[in-house]
Amino acid sequence: MESSFSSPRNDSFPAGLRVLVVDDDPTWLKILEKMLKKCSYEVTTCGLAREALNLLREKKDGYDIVVSDVNMPDMDGFKLLEHVGLEMDLPVIMMSVDGETSRVMKGVQHGACDYLLKPIRMKELRNIWQHVFRKKIHEIRDIESHESIEGIQLIRNGSDQYDEGYFFSAEDLTSSRKRKDVDNKYDDKDFSDCSSTKKARVVWSVDLHQKFVKAVHQIGFDKVGPKKILDLMNVPWLTRENVASHLQKYRLYLSRLQKENDIKSSFGGTKHSDYSSKDLQGILSVQNSINIQQNDVAHGSYRFSGNNLVAQNADPKSNEGDIKGIVSEPVAEPKKGTTSNIPDSQKTRSSQMDFNSSYTETKKGLVGNVPHSQKIRSSQMCVNHSFASVESEVNLTAFDSTIPATYSWNQIQLEKEHKPLIQLNNGFSKPPLPGPQHHFQADQLQSIPSISSRPSIPGGDVSGSSKSKPSYSEYTNHHGSRVSPTISPTISATDSFPGQTKSCVVDHQVSETISTSTSNMKNQGINLSIDLESAQRNLILGSTAPFASLDDEFQICWYQGDCYGMNLELQNIEFSEYTDPTHVTEVPAHLYDALRFEYPCDPSEYCVLDQGLFIA
């Protein structure tokens, strides 16, 4: 099926362009409808985002472009944007009365093709067809560049390396997409059959998708690969590339969902290749911690000791300090290990759960955003932003208090809950971290995006010492599992880290631990993006099972205010792996090392990570 270029509609292109307009204001709907009709477009209007999604899903190939308002009652316009991009891959134009740069930036980051300012003039609407056209061209190009294959490759690079590889690849993908280069970095797998023939855009009808899903389940999610799926599906006209690109999208979508679900369940183990479970966990924990943090921001002592990390191992051990405050959320101080505050790992877990939900939300946002490599970019950017913002605030300010919501979990900027996390970094007064400046390696980013940046190094100078962030990346590497780098940064920084500061909630107090943890973290791969303000830290630790080691050291002293470092993208918080609370503690140390991310790496580094994480 050729792209719509050859369809009859194209004879008079752009006339007849099928536009779906979504806006809750009936006045605007009427006006836009009239304007678009004047441009000879085919218009469908609806007043609710959900309704729009239903319409889009019913007729997968029924629309060429979506125009949506940013503020809607039932669903955030950006979310809708994500969904559309992920499921239908249509160009989306955002509109709003509010033209603030940050909003526009957010729109672009979420994948909007354009951002129009209301009141909208006719001439602006006349030109929207260019986005449809451009996308078609890119699609063809992408197919030729085997982009999807690469993506798949990346995804398949193993959960262990997933984060790292994935993240990188995601970034690469985006760039390669543009460059049309085939990035062979990741494709050692069945890349070979990528033919360079122009392929028409495949419409994934419900039936086709069902077959696809069935095949995936049959094969087993972990072992899935485009070739196998293709064989099982037994659809003659479908090519491997088609399946590959669809698989990529599907994975992203699933991981996002998973995060929501997994978070609730124990973090442990679901090592999904999609990192979803891991991330979720991590995220959850981070979230928890973050949440906690938020509440506790006041606490000052971030001792978040790992609790926040909850996601993982809920090892309270590592949680030193009064993560309690932070953990106050159900997180129950995951790590208690070192920090007394942490009530016990159980709690942290619960908190994690809480986080998860919140996290998942954020994560979702993230994940959603990243359906494609492009998205990842955006997510990264998002993260960066958040992180960056946080960083600046927090950095070094000894996390006091303001747990910057910047918690930029990469995506979500954790607006919701994270704020405090970001602060983390500040608090960390450069904990003794052994200097593992593990900059958050982008690989680690995968999960840790959030944390890395902010490892709320309780010590306050997270920026320097806490590098906890970096640990993330390292972590992940170590672990292979996606350690959510989130913790890293904070961990290292925290003074209190007993050296462990592993990604988890780097307790201020624990700075010493943090330092050790960072090193450990590395091993742990706790890519926890400790950003979660103390809570997160814990989370991070938890994520990569190795955390256990971190516990003690880890004192994830979450700098209470600063947790913002936890931007952890917790997503990656590989936490899922670590179901083992002890791990958490251990991890912290490792994480910490890993985290040691040069904290100054702040957002930029983070971003990288985040991006990676985001990919999850």
Binding site: D24, D25, P26, T27, W28, K30, I31, K34, M35, K38, D69, N71, S96, V97, D98, K118, P119, R121, M122
Partner: protein, 150 residues
């Protein structure tokens, strides 16, 4: 089409609406969208707007009745009002809404409440001016159509 004086009156009414900045250029876009199928498009949209904005203003007023004030709801409603006003080119209302949002953001409750009154005033003025205008316009028919050579 003999109502030349009437047409002139309509034209001057219209002009004054712009001169007094009650309506913004956006309104002209509405007019331009009129065609044989929708000869009274601008009026229809304006009617829709007046109806919705009245509701919105009532919501805002309610939210400000007594503490605790739901700031989020307030802001959302104001944002919506701002959007709608922009859509039809209801200039003064748009300006006042913006002001109100600002004072709300600044936390200046007194000023916010005072602004609400200004919005209501602008809204009433708008209604008072455009309704007779449209009424008269219907009588003479839109200039383009009326003047279209037969």
């Amino acid at each position: 089409m003999g109502s030349n004086p009437l047409r002139q009156q309509v034209a001057s009414m219209r002009q004054s609406l712009f001169d007094e900045e009650i309506l913004a250029k956006q309104f002209m876009q509405m007019e331009q969208l009129e065609d044989v199928d929708n000869p009274n498009f601008a009026e229809e949209v304006m009617t829709l707007y007046l109806r919705d904005s009245t509701k919105l203003i009532a919501t805002v007023e309610q939210a400000l009745e007594k503490p605790p004030y739901d700031v989020n709801k307030l802001d959302k409603s104001l944002h919506q009002l701002k959007g709608s006003s922009a859509s039809v080119g209801a200039n003064k209302v748009w300006i006042e809404t913006n002001q109100m949002r600002e004072s709300l953001k600044a936390g200046d409750l007194e000023r916010t409440k005072a602004q609400l009154q200004l919005i209501k005033l602008a809204h009433e003025t708008l209604r008072g001016k455009v309704e007779p205008y449209f009424h008269l316009l219907r009588q003479v028919g839109p200039p383009e159509i009326a003047q279209r050579p037969k």
